[in-house]
Amino acid sequence: MNTQGFPVLSAFELDALAELVNYGVSRAAIALREMVREQVHLSVPEVRVVTRAQAVEILHKREDSGLVAVHQTFDGALNGRALLIFPDANSLELVRAVTGGELPLEDVMELEQEALAETGNVILNNCVATIANMLKCTFKMSLPEVLRGEGPEFFNLPPKAGDVVMFLYINFSVRERNIRGYIAMLMDIPSVIALQQLLNQFIERATGVLEPQSDARY
């Protein structure tokens, strides 16, 4: 813990977490690619431990209009919430893409909520399950829910143990269809501490060495 009471991860632990997120999001992108039949481009993942207010600010800098989030809790060795966030203006295009683009607009609108929840479910489950497998633990995922808002609504969802969140951020886009979005994860402080232990076990398995203790912590 640092002086503000935030759990801290070393630069190397954050590097390992970013690599894990990369595995998870790559798997999610493959699943989304199967659904939309177009290449899904991924950014290099950013992983930070931030306050809820900072998480809102990070998102607001990138997106200043209405957003939609599909979110699901995960419970087990770690407790948290995974979110798939994208501009509200993209949501009908995403539904069109996953339904094959042949349905009339009124059918697409009727299906929107259900299709968003299902698409989010496939993407988030692929991502979280891959990370869980790499950490050698299991998570139970809740059913997906769809929420519209500007950002603060998404980051004030439970879990709320302390004003700190693990913010995993990766940008994905389907350029041919002008679809883009983000995957984020929220965790409470006890989960960030538990994550640190799991990460160090993962680092040892992956590299054969323990995490160097001299690393700067963030």
Partner: protein, 137 residues
């Protein structure tokens, strides 16, 4: 390492360049590489620019390149390395095996290896790379 040279069996070690922006990923590759080819020399780079400088200065034989990196991605770097040295065996290493990524790897003459890298996958790639390098002699 055993290599056939003009009908004779000779010992041969190679210089391999590992490119990944993640330190953990580079260490994970090093662990697998040490298990498969402990005698080989390994150089590491964390981005495409560093990798090109090393490839030019260290006379690299083989390259393992991460796909998703800041700046130029691994497929672009693979193409640049192949342009620099058309006979250099290059593998793009990624968890992202979308069809388009695999196709682009083939187009630039690079192999594709899944992350996390396994000993079996690396061993197969390196065996093939050695044959290609032997033909170059």
């Amino acid at each position: 390492m055993v290599r056939y040279v003009g009908g004779r069996v000779g010992l041969m070690t190679y210089k391999i360049l590992v490119v990944d922006d993640s330190r953990l990923a580079r260490m994970a590759v090093a662990k697998v590489l040490n298990a498969v080819q402990p005698e080989w020399t390994r150089f590491e780079a964390s981005n495409a620019d560093e990798a090109l400088i090393m490839a030019k200065s260290k006379s690299t034989d083989i390259a393992l390149v991460d796909f998703n990196m800041p700046g130029r991605d691994g497929l672009t770097l693979a193409a640049e390395l192949r342009e620099l040295n058309p006979s250099m065996p290059v593998a793009v290493v990624s968890a992202n095996h979308q069809e388009e990524v695999l196709r682009r790897a083939r187009e630039v003459g690079a192999a594709f290896l899944m992350k996390p890298l396994t000993q079996e996958a690396l061993s197969d790639f390196l065996a093939d790379a050695q044959k290609r390098l032997a033909r170059r002699q």
